[in-house]
Symmetry: C2
Subunit: 422 residues, 2 copies
Amino acid sequence: MALIIQKYGGTSVGNIDRVRSVARRVIQSAARGNRVVAVVSAMAGETNRLIDLGKTVSKNSEGREFDVLLATGEQVTTALLALAIEDQGRKAVSFLGHQVQITTTGSFSRARIESVNAERTRKALDDGYIVVVAGFQGATREGSITTLGRGGSDITAVALGVALKADRVEFYKDVDGIFTADPAVCPDARLLPRVAYEEMLEMSYLGAKVLHPRCVELARRNGLPLVVRSSLNFNPGTVVVPEEDLMEYAAVAGIVCDKNQVKVSLTGIPDKPGILAGIFTAVAEADINIDMIVEDVSSASGGTSVSFTCGSADLAAAEKVAKKLTAAFPGGAWGVKAGLNKLSIVGAGMRLHSGVASRMFTALAREGVGVYMVNTSDIKVSCLIEAKYAELAVRTLHEVFELSKAPAKKAAKAGKGPRRSI
Amino acid sequence: MALIIQKYGGTSVGNIDRVRSVARRVIQSAARGNRVVAVVSAMAGETNRLIDLGKTVSKNSEGREFDVLLATGEQVTTALLALAIEDQGRKAVSFLGHQVQITTTGSFSRARIESVNAERTRKALDDGYIVVVAGFQGATREGSITTLGRGGSDITAVALGVALKADRVEFYKDVDGIFTADPAVCPDARLLPRVAYEEMLEMSYLGAKVLHPRCVELARRNGLPLVVRSSLNFNPGTVVVPEEDLMEYAAVAGIVCDKNQVKVSLTGIPDKPGILAGIFTAVAEADINIDMIVEDVSSASGGTSVSFTCGSADLAAAEKVAKKLTAAFPGGAWGVKAGLNKLSIVGAGMRLHSGVASRMFTALAREGVGVYMVNTSDIKVSCLIEAKYAELAVRTLHEVFELSKAPAKKAAKAGKGPRRSI
């Protein structure tokens, strides 16, 4: 008898019919003998409605009382799902963040989970209840309601999974799982039956919106299998597992493309200790979320050039900072290139395959796609390219790395099969 | 420095402008040096919206999960009011039912308060916060959210007032206070500056919708002064105090008229022990809320006649029961008179004045108003009359008992003034 956490996002509970449909799915899983905890988000659009409501009475849009307001969104769906399950004839009980004893820091609107006391949930499961838990919320030790920020409901699901030692956490989405590339861009995109935590993490950081990096990291640290699947069908979806459990084996697992990137270049910067720290302190103080940073010390002018990227929402702020920073140096200059995409290939297999980056650059060059910046880690290569080439580049790399074909199986080691069967 | 509970109903917080206006009023009271706890209802209409939402997924319209759903209505206004107060520059903190530690029975949708632990509220007041509390909700000892049923937010305010030993509880309404009669019917109606708990209780039971009898009774038992006033102006309103604190002195304090009453009469009932119990058990099993009961044993036929009244919503059910009950007795018969109003005069002074009922009957007879049933207590006389005479009867009695004039002051006893000055 497996203990399963099922997480349903805002679209999956977006209206009453969908809530009923989620209730049916939860009951089906329970009827197969599983112990089921359903974690729900607010109905799609509800959190924004509450934020707008709060902003009409308050200049601030966060803090203790904002969290009290926002937490009602998940409370409503939690109650509705529990009611729908009971209406379909199964015992259900709902728990809010403070009831399921998710204790968090007091940093309202972006609280971090400190501990989860799973006793009450475990007891309810033992008593035959389907447990419905409000995602996105917790409470401080003093009992103030908190919300967990972006990806909060996913975090709730994984944190509960860890505390309950669940067999897996299933995320129900409006997509079938994790694909080798965006199927809307690349018709050959293939559903990945399994990906490694590290790959999922990189993909999340690199712009795949499916799972929040915080929740993938938490699952990885605790070896908790995650499943990403559709709430609209019964396909098995994608399982996120430790790298050593992967049965497939390819250099590149998938391609991710993150839109609306801006590259900011500062040149003629004196090559002195502390200069970079000064630059990025100024950038951080301007509230700019930077992503990639490239520094090239050996420029002919004797100075340094530094480039960084950020989202296009930060364009104006970035220009202002760049202007101010370079004005301070004789010979300092700055430039901005907007309308870029960050194209990344991700694969744990890269550690074992060489020449992956070179194959990527060759293919892009062949299609006339210029590369504005490169950033690498042991399992990913990211290139900044012009947005107009994004679809072409994704399709080209998808073909070059043969992602539409299932990769060769790993040679089975004697006496050691996959550790978990899901 | 007084400790004041201010209760704002759904109309008073019915939109964002009104929430802001409530915030101003709360802050004004605090600026005068008072310690203020504001108790709020859900925005007008919100509780019904949530009930409708719940009914779309559930055949049941009450129970544990329904309370989780309904409690969000008050949670939203609580957060909004706290935000609005902070936005106007004062420290505010919101508490939900479980946070303010209102512990209730587990009878969901109509829970009764068992205890209130006021420590947290008192500490927040000591720390200079204006405290905003969600009305209508509490939690069981096990931590399940409960709601308190009709009049729930009023009960929250009074229960908190008792626990905090508040100086008074102020109810902010869309009326100026308690009047001698409905001003819409009787242009001469006068605002009562003070009424006794007992009078307020009778008026509430008799159909004045201003305060719920449960909360008046709780305040009376604890000697907690109540104030009923308008949220739209700064008039002082009506103070509800112990009878001995009344400074005015009249036989009749006010007139209340309750619409949509039905009288059911059963005749030819055998005069045997237990027969009444059987009748009213059957009535209760049919879920009919009965109000007045009159029995006349000495009827010429040797049998008994019994009449009772109920709301017109119960008419069909009452006819069915009456038919079934009288069919069992030879000579049994039944009749129903719909379209009646219950007209009541209430006054603690009746205990000292004789002839009040006779003045009432004489005045009604003079105007040709027939009386279908009479019921009395030590501080009220109720008559069932035809609905068409209701306005005429109210105005007639208002004049006969000279309610538009302020009554004579009590002779001040040496050394004993009013115990509280509000």
